[in-house]
Structure formats: structure tokens, C-alpha cells
């Protein structure tokens, strides 16, 4: 039975991804802060899909704990999916370093820390797949969320370099750009229905990308083109826009 590790397993997107992999016969390792909250999810997955499921305490910002966290997992996972992230509040973050640091450390530093540990293990073993859920917000900084966006931009660049490096060692890296998704993180936002995916659609796309060894995926295909257009706008115009 193959095993998938879900980092940040409490989010709506992570729950959908865990269910998708379990439904395809994967044992799942669910890692999150306050892992005891995941007990109901654990029983749910085990009963629905008849696979082994375990929960593990994991905090993206406790960098020093990452090597030990990974070493004590019951089995080395075949696939690692890094789902955790923190949107935060742009206005607060530009005034308050605590909020700002939380955004940067969750979305970038924490992800780099744990994925360094895991990719080294995968490289030594010469197999494994790493999936990073990044964000289209990282493709160009906008006034409405450039601290989150820049952290995700760093993460996207990290995943790109990691993919390049790991290719030669038999390890595959997938970058996921979900676009808008209906989740707890975006509950307070008014999202355009046509551009917004359900967590289950993200999960399906992630699973397919792992099977087909895709490099960079957008969950709804037109996001690739939306971001292409946004990236094409000359800076002297872009800086005047309210995005």
C-alpha cells in the first residue's frame, strides 16, 4: 500500500486531498498542529476507504522539530503533499511584524525547512514525489496581498529549483497553483464563481498531477492565461492599477 503524507492536514483543501488519495488506496499520514482535532477525520478516512490512517503533531514554524518529526513517522511516505499556508491580513502585516513573520514563516521558511528534510531522504532513496501547494498570488506582487504573495513567490521559485535538482535523483516535484478555492481561508471573500474551484477539484487535479508526473498545474486551466496576461502588463501601467 503506497503512503501519502499531508502536511497541514486540517484545512479544507488538505481534507479533500487526503480523501482523494485514500480513495485510491493510499495509506495517509495526517500532520498538523493540534493533531488531536484530526481524530474524527482519521476514523472517517479509515472507515470510508479501508486504508491505514495516522495523525502526527506538526508545526511548520517549529523548524528545529522538522527532522525528528519526519524520522518518527511510522513509514517513509511515497508522496508528500505540502498544503499548509497562512493568508494573514495585508494591512496588519505591513504594520505588525508578528503577523508579517507568521505569513513569511508559514508559507516560505517553514515549507523550505520541512521539504529540505524530506527531499534529502527521497534523494538518498532515489524515489518519491513532493507536491507543493503554492499560489497564483506569487506570480506578481499586488497591493492587496504582496506579503503573502512574495512568500508564495519564494516558495514557487524554491519548488522550481527543487524540481530541477531532484530530477537527476529520481524524485519528482509538482507545483500546484490553485487559483481561487472555496475554503475556510477564503470564506470571508466574495469570489467569482466561474474562477473558483471546489477543494475536491483541487484534490483531483493534485492526484492526476502525481500520477502523470506533471510539473506545474493550474486547477482551472484559464488561470494559467489570466496570470500570463497579468504578468504581461507593463510595470508603469501595473503600478497605477488597483489590484
Amino acid at each position: 500500500m503506497p503512503t501519502a503524507l499531508i502536511l497541514g492536514a486540517a484545512s479544507d483543501m488538505a481534507v479533500a486531498i487526503a480523501k482523494k488519495f485514500a480513495s485510491q488506496g493510499y495509506a495517509v499520514q495526517l500532520a498538523a498542529r493540534n493533531a488531536h482535532r484530526l481524530q474524527p477525520l482519521l476514523s472517517d478516512i479509515a472507515i470510508r476507504y479501508n486504508v491505514a490512517a495516522t495523525v502526527h503533531e506538526f508545526d511548520a514554524r517549529q523548524f528545529a522539530s522538522h527532522p525528528q518529526f519526519f524520522d518518527t513517522l511510522p513509514a517513509l511516505p511515497d508522496v508528500t503533499i505540502c498544503v499548509f499556508g497562512y493568508l494573514g491580513d495585508q494591512a496588519t502585516a505591513s504594520a505588525d511584524w508578528k503577523e508579517c513573520a507568521q505569513i513569511i514563516e508559514t508559507n516560505y521558511t517553514g515549507a523550505v525547512s520541512i521539504l529540505n528534510v524530506i527531499s534529502n531522504k527521497y534523494a538518498a532513496r532515489k524515489s518519491g514525489t513532493i507536491v507543493g501547494i503554492s499560489s497564483v498570488a506569487g506570480e506578481r506582487g499586488r497591493q492587496s496581498n504582496y506579503i503573502y504573495g512574495s512568500a508564495k513567490a519564494g516558495f514557487t521559485a524554491y519548488l522550481s529549483g527543487l524540481r530541477n535538482s531532484m530530477y537527476h535523483k529520481g524524485v519528482h516535484v509538482v507545483t500546484v497553483q490553485p487559483g481561487f478555492v472555496y475554503t475556510k481561508m477564503t470564506e470571508h471573500l466574495q469570489l467569482p464563481a466561474l474562477l473558483t474551484a471546489k477543494p475536491e477539484a483541487v484534490a483531483k487535479a493534485v492526484y492526476k498531477a502525481v500520477v502523470k508526473k506533471k510539473n506545474v498545474i493550474y486547477v482551472k486551466w484559464f488561470w494559467r492565461w489570466i496570470m500570463f496576461i497579468i504578468k504581461c502588463i507593463p510595470e508603469f501601467i501595473f503600478k497605477k492599477m488597483k489590484l
Partner: protein, 430 residues
């Protein structure tokens, strides 16, 4: 009306929301026909949908309240179990099944959903969680079953399942030429586990009340055709078509409904048909059409379901007469006979129950007020889960133990923090 809806996935999120709210009503998948789960603030359970335990040997299932019945079926049917009681749609949550204390085609044999509950947890307005059952906190248990969410938010339910050999139903359909005959047939076939009748409300004269009685039993393996024996517990395929737009309201009129009834009654050429069908079309015919309500147009429709005691057959005749005189009948008029039930606030009680859809038209609400009086005069009552318009006096007159119910609501929800548009209208929380 506008409503602020809050969702949660974890217990601590729920208690934080409950503590912060000024007032709210619990809401599941919003399939009550009226205003029972509407309020300025609602707490939606749909993301609180995890299966907590399933004993496939003894048929005991435990889950969080936001889990929908379609999900329950997907897990239990392949293991040889079925819902003890199911309403006509599987797109309702387990919490909703408790709040409405739903009934099904097997009421005369198996009672309502709450008859199969082992125990459940209810979060009160204070944020405190109480485990109740027929033995513990009996008052809370009784007032929560069918209590429209007014005692608290059901968080966890543990209930017993029904053993099945196959996922198929052995169905028998019998045409009845009139009301006398259908009532006689109900009696003749009362040993059947499932029974319900479609009734033509617009027919007058000697065919007044013509109907099709639909009976069913869970099929045994040796009753299946050879092809189906290989996989007797197969889940039905998930095909859904979508009703794409609102039909203009004039499409449904007494002519088109009569035409539909003519075709529906006429499609069964023989008086009696026996066949084996999947559980899906037998229990959930309308679930195959997403947004079927759009067929009623933008103005929508109201459901009207009442029950009359067995001795009040005359009342049933009088109501059917009034409906056919008005020409207001609906596609889906469903007649059933309830068995005995002795609950505090649940709708079913022994007698005839008739469920109707009425497209909203000028004069409809006045007409329904008139029907209410006939229902009360014959000792009947209305179903709160389908209600959007009854007056508080009608509820009061129909439910003899209403005052006891109200006092239990007051005990566990003392400031009426939990309230809905319906509960305010019916003076349950005022």
C-alpha cells in the same frame, strides 16, 4: 431575507461560534421546505461531516451531524446495511433527520428516525455539550427529536441500521380506481415494510382519489435475477441531470397537471406490476433531477403535509374535494398510512397523511388557511418541516403536548438564543 452563515470543521470552532453569536439556528443542507432553518444567523453543519465509528457486525453507525444520508448509504450498503428510516431525499444531514424526526415509507413498521437512535450529543446555547438518549436527559432527547433545532445543535448521533441482503427492492405497484379502493389496499398490504401511494387530486366522480399503491421489500439474494446475484450489494450509479432553468410559472396549471396525472396513471398498463429495482429510484426518485424545484418557476411552491386520525376518513375526502374544486393540485401528491407513534413533538401519529406541493398563486395562502381548519376539525395536524405559513394557533391545536415541548426548550435554551424565523412565527421562542 439576508442571513449570515457560519461554517465549522472542529468542535472548538463550533463552541467559539456558538458563544459569539447573539442568536442562531442550526442548518444542514437546507432541504426543509419552509423557514425552519432560516434566521439572521445560521450555523451550517455541512463541513462537520465525519464518520466516527461503524460496527459492520452489529449495524451501529456513529457520525458528526453534518454528514448527509447519501454518504452514509455509500459506506453502509456495500457492507449489507441500510438506513433504518429514510425520507424521500438522501440529500439531508443526519442532524436534520433528528431535528425533523423524519419518517419514511416504513413508518407503520419502523417508526421515525429517532426510534433508532442509541444516543446523541447536543450543544446547548451556552456551549455546553450534553449526551442524551431515551434513558439519559430524556427530556432533552424527546424535545430534540422533531424539535426543529430549538433545544441546541446536534453534534453527534449514534444509531442502529437495518440489515439487508441486497441493495435492491422487490417492488409491487397496484392501481386503485378510487379512494375507497386505495384505503382498502393499504389495509390489505399493511404487512409490507414499505408502502406509499401516489394520488390524483384532481379527478372527480367515480374515479375520485384514483391512485397507484407502491409497495416494497428489501430483496433477498435468491430473488434477484442471475446477472445481479454476482454483486447483490452494488451501489447504484450516480447519474444526475440538472433542471437547467426556472420554468415560467404558468406552465403548471390544472390542465398540465391533469395531463401529467393521466399519463402517470396510464403508464401502468396492468393493474399490478411486480419488479426488482435499485433502492435509488424506489426511495429517491426526485434526487435524480438536480434543482427539480425550478419546475415550479420563480415564485416557487409550498409543501403541505398533514395527518388525520384513522377514523377521520371523511376529512380526507373533504380536503381532496376542496383541492379538486380549486384545481390547485400538484404533481406529487403522496398518501400514506402512519402507524402508532407517541412522541413529544414529532409529526407522525396514527392515521392518513397526505403531502402535496402547491405552486404559489394568488389566493393560495388563504386557501391553505381554510384547509388548516378542516385538518384541525378532524383532529389532525401539520408537519413543521414542510411548513412556511401556518399560524401559531394551528400548531397549538394540533400538538397536544406543545406546552411541555415549549417548557423543555425554555429550560435548555433559556434566552431563546437559538431561534428561527419559523420558531418566532409559531411563537415557540417568544
Amino acid at each position: 431575507m439576508e442571513s449570515e452563515e457560519k461554517l465549522f470543521s472542529f468542535d472548538d470552532q463550533l463552541s467559539a461560534i456558538v458563544k459569539q453569536s447573539h442568536h442562531f439556528i442550526p442548518r444542514g443542507n437546507g432541504r426543509c421546505y419552509g423557514d425552519a432553518s432560516l434566521a439572521e444567523q445560521t450555523i451550517n453543519t455541512l463541513k462537520y461531516d465525519k464518520i466516527l465509528s461503524f460496527d459492520a457486525v452489529n449495524g451501529i453507525f456513529e457520525c458528526q451531524s453534518g454528514l448527509m444520508l447519501d454518504q452514509v448509504l455509500e459506506v453502509i450498503v456495500p457492507k449489507g446495511w441500510f438506513l433504518p428510516v429514510t425520507p424521500g431525499t438522501k440529500f439531508i444531514t443526519v442532524g436534520g433527520a433528528v431535528g425533523s424526526d423524519v419518517h419514511g415509507k416504513n413508518h407503520h413498521v419502523d417508526g421515525t428516525f429517532s426510534n433508532h437512535i442509541i444516543d446523541m450529543d447536543v450543544m446547548l446555547a451556552s456551549g455546553e455539550v450534553i449526551t442524551c438518549s431515551p434513558e439519559r436527559y430524556t427530556d432533552l432527547f424527546e424535545a430534540t427529536c422533531g424539535g426543529m433545532g430549538l433545544t441546541g445543535l446536534v453534534t453527534r448521533v449514534k444509531f442502529r441500521l437495518k440489515k439487508i441482503e441486497t441493495s435492491y427492492i422487490k417492488q409491487k405497484q397496484i392501481k386503485a380506481a378510487n379512494l375507497e379502493e386505495i384505503i382498502r389496499l393499504f389495509d390489505e398490504y399493511k404487512h409490507y415494510t414499505y408502502s406509499v401511494a401516489w394520488i390524483d387530486c384532481l379527478k372527480k366522480g367515480k374515479n375520485f382519489g384514483r391512485s397507484i399503491l407502491i409497495l416494497g421489500e428489501h430483496a433477498k439474494v435468491d430473488e434477484l435475477p442471475e446477472k445481479k446475484k454476482k454483486d447483490p450489494l452494488k451501489l447504484p450509479s450516480r447519474k444526475q441531470i440538472t433542471f437547467p432553468f426556472n420554468l415560467p410559472s404558468w406552465v403548471l396549471n390544472s390542465f398540465t397537471v391533469k395531463l401529467f396525472n393521466f399519463l402517470y396513471y396510464g403508464k401502468n398498463l396492468k393493474r399490478e406490476i411486480n419488479n426488482i429495482v435499485s433502492y435509488e429510484p424506489f426511495f429517491y426518485p426526485l434526487d435524480a433531477i438536480l434543482h427539480w424545484n425550478r419546475g415550479y418557476g420563480k415564485k416557487g411552491f409550498v409543501q403541505y403535509q398533514f395527518v388525520l386520525p384513522l377514523e377521520a376518513k371523511q376529512g380526507l375526502i373533504e380536503i381532496l374535494n376542496r383541492i379538486s374544486d380549486r384545481g390547485l393540485g400538484s404533481f406529487l401528491a403522496v398518501l400514506k398510512i402512519f402507524g402508532k407513534q407517541d412522541s413529544l413533538i414529532s409529526f407522525p401519529s396514527e392515521g392518513y397523511t397526505l403531502a402535496l406541493d402547491f405552486p404559489v398563486r394568488k389566493g393560495l395562502f388563504e386557501f391553505l388557511d381554510e384547509l388548516d381548519q378542516v385538518v384541525l376539525q378532524y383532529g389532525g395536524r401539520l408537519y413543521m418541516s414542510k411548513d412556511a405559513r401556518m399560524k401559531p394557533e394551528v400548531l397549538q391545536a394540533g400538538y397536544p403536548r406543545l406546552e411541555v415541548f415549549k417548557s423543555i426548550v425554555k429550560k435548555y435554551n433559556p434566552d431563546y438564543k437559538i431561534r428561527s424565523v419559523q420558531s418566532d412565527r409559531l411563537l415557540l421562542t417568544k
